[in-house]
């Protein structure tokens, strides 16, 4: 994984000291809250429902064990012994004190981490495929390109005050595991005539106006990756709306200009920029790439797995994913125990995951946008020992991509923007399906819950989505069906009138039962929905 050079470290250290001074001046009364708020937000520090909340960037979701240990230590030293892994591969702490925030950032900097650009109208943490560098189906490892864009976008003076926040995802396989087309810019590394390049999708997003990004350029040579990205940002910065925050995202600009006119504007800007020397030397990309070389996989690693323990076999079937190296898999650690809080991990669990990464996965971990953790490179021969350790710590839930593997935003339990609680709904649904035994029969079923229209829980992209709303001061939940954030991307549609908390749990089971009744061989929930449409579900829900 990428390691800071002296310039990276100096920049981050300097930023910590700058924030230390800003926080001190706020505490001394030399800055008002109005003056201080944009400064703390630039360092990821929000004032949330109960306290200050810090969002720490985890670039493209990649961590080493030292960093995960540091995150655990921070949870104990500055928070209440836990952290929350988010739907953009970051981690959030919910109980931070302003008077300690600078020291926390200094601790983060010691392990080459920070919270810069995790808030504000700037380019946020670049996300990527959580199986990058391990996936059997990838063209190349997408992370060097994500890292190049991270360096380009960090502290970029032209893009520190965009019309609105800006999110970029980079993948390098036809299977989309990063919700690439639901980002402001989605980049897929592709191959054309033996040459690598980037396909650009622009103007996707969730939130109150969900849109799927169209492809505006099918192939940009890699030695123009940064220049083309900058051309897009310049067009957005110039023409994006600043008069209405609800119409300020680039998706609105692409929609209002139309894909063709927007693309023409980008191409015109790109043509003007070619002589400006925007693109970093190709040697820099090559330098970055050296940090992402494959670990020394054993060439004779055994393919055999002793499946005599049925609980272990179930976990292997559900929570391990094909690896490009024979004898290896990527193992997913579920942060979704039945009745648990999706994405939360205690400091003890973080330390265990860090230690297991060191022992079994070449010191590497990944945060999934689905709020689980990946050990990307595990020998099949080590799986039983790994699972045993995880299971003893409550981290062995065999539920990847099942109805119990629910994405849920923090919701009204933590978030000042939320209208309804998400977590209790997730807890009750996972308990319901663990009890009724339908999880196995339902197979792959992605359920996503947001506590408000901002859609941090990706409800538009769930095979089943739930949106919490405020109905005259009472929590109410709308049910949506038919979304996908994968390569078969689609936006879910609302079924009809909403439900109360108990009602939405029943409604999910009703929808699941329609699928079980109507499905044809080999169909996922999403496939059946797409074949039979909304009507049978509405009939069962409201008939």
């Amino acid at each position: 994984m990428y390691l800071y050079d002296q310039y990276d470290q100096q920049m981050v250290d300097a930023r910590v000291e700058e924030f230390r001074d800003q926080a001190r001046r706020r505490l001394d009364g030399k800055l008002t809250e109005d003056q201080f708020k944009p400064l703390r937000l630039m360092n990821g520090l929000y004032l949330q429902l109960h306290a200050y909340m810090l969002r720490v960037a985890i670039p493209y979701g990649t961590l080493n064990s030292r960093q995960m240990h540091a995150l655990a230590d921070i949870a104990d030293k500055y928070d209440r012994g836990y952290g929350h892994f988010t739907t953009r591969q970051n981690i959030q702490y919910n109980w931070i004190k302003l008077e300690e925030a600078a020291e926390l950032l200094a601790d983060l900097a010691k392990v080459e981490m920070h919270a810069i650009q995790t808030s504000g109208n700037c380019i946020r943490n670049i996300s990527s495929d959580h199986f990058a560098g391990a996936a059997a189906d990838e063209l190349v490892d997408p992370r060097p390109y994500a890292e190049l864009l991270r360096q380009w976008s960090s502290f970029h003076p032209e893009f520190s005050y965009l019309p609105r926040k800006f999110k970029i995802a980079v993948i390098a396989s036809d299977t989309d595991r990063a919700a690439m087309r639901l980002h402001d810019i989605g980049i897929q590394i592709v191959e054309q005539d033996g040459e690598l390049g980037a396909a650009f999708y622009v103007g996707g997003g969730m939130g109150r106006t969900p849109m799927i990004a169209p492809c505006i350029k099918a192939f940009v040579p890699l030695d123009r990756l940064v220049t083309y990205s900058e051309a897009i940002l310049r067009v957005y910065n110039r023409y994006g709306r600043r008069d209405n925050k609800y119409k300020a995202r680039i998706k609105i600009l692409v929609h209002e200009m139309g894909k063709d006119d927007f693309t023409q504007a980008v191409d015109d800007e790109f043509a003007r920029m070619l002589d400006e020397g925007i693109e970093p030397p190709f040697a820099e990309l090559e330098r970055i790439r050296t940090f992402f070389e494959d670990p020394l996989f054993e060439t004779d690693a055994s393919e055999d797995i002793d499946r005599s323990d049925p609980d272990f076999a179930l976990w292997v079937d559900r929570n391990t994913v094909a690896h490009k190296a024979s004898g290896y898999v990527s193992a997913v650690i579920s942060l979704k125990p039945v009745g648990g809080i999706p994405g939360d991990a205690t400091s003890e669990q973080m330390r265990l995951m860090a230690d297991l990464a060191k022992d079994y996965s070449f010191d590497e971990l990944r945060v999934m946008h689905t709020q689980n953790i990946v050990l990307p490179h595990v020998r099949k021969a080590d799986l039983h020992a790994l699972w045993t350790a995880l299971d003893e710590a409550g981290l062995g839930s065999p539920n990847l991509d099942t109805i119990e593997d629910i994405i849920a935003c923090p919701g009204l339990d933590y978030c000042s923007l939320a209208n309804a609680r998400s977590i209790p709904v997730a807890q009750k649904i996972s308990e319901r399906f663990a009890a009724n035994g339908k999880t196995e029969a339902l197979g792959k079923l992605k359920l996503k819950i947001s506590g408000c229209i901002n859609a941090c829980g990706h409800h538009h992209a769930g095979h089943i989505g739930i949106l919490g709303v405020d109905k005259k001061g009472v929590e109410n939940y709308q049910l949506l069906l038919g979304g996908s954030e994968a390569e078969d991307v689609s936006l879910a549609k609302i079924t009809g009138p909403g439900f109360d908390e108990a009602g939405i749990v029943n409604a999910v089971e009703t929808a699941a039962d329609v699928y079980l009744r109507e499905r044809e061989k080999g169909e996922r929930f999403l496939d059946t929905y797409r074949r039979i449409g909304m009507a049978p579900f509405k009939e069962a829900l409201y008939g």
């Binding site: 505490l27 109960h50 306290a51 200050y52 109980w95 809080i341 009204l412 939320a418 209790p424 001061g473």
Partner: protein
């Protein structure tokens, strides 16, 4: 009734104006109807509170209870982590929130 809330500047903790000082407990909140802006301005200027604002509340068993569920959760703590709320041992506190 109207009650005044904000966050402690240093810790970020949710606080409530009691009439003389700031308390962690919403039950201590005083009715500030008509004077909320003046108190908020004065207390924020003195850095005894951060980002204060007034909310609607009702009397519940003689004590203030915020009218909206968001403010009740804010007053108590996350409903999914009773151990982290201000009243971790009160098992029926959920009915006060919901």
């Amino acid at each position: 009734m109207r009650i005044l809330t904000g966050n402690d500047l240093k810790s970020g903790a949710v606080t409530w104006w009691t009439g003389q000082d700031w308390s962690l407990y919403v039950e201590d909140a005083a009715d500030v109807s008509g004077s909320e802006e003046e108190i908020a301005r004065r207390e924020e200027a003195a850095r005894r509170v951060n980002a204060p604002y007034a909310i609607d509340a009702e009397r519940h068993e003689g004590r203030p209870r915020p009218s909206h569920i968001k403010d009740r959760i804010r007053a108590l703590g996350p409903t999914v982590r009773p151990d982290l709320t201000l009243k971790p041992t009160e098992t029926d506190i959920g009915t006060w929130v919901i």
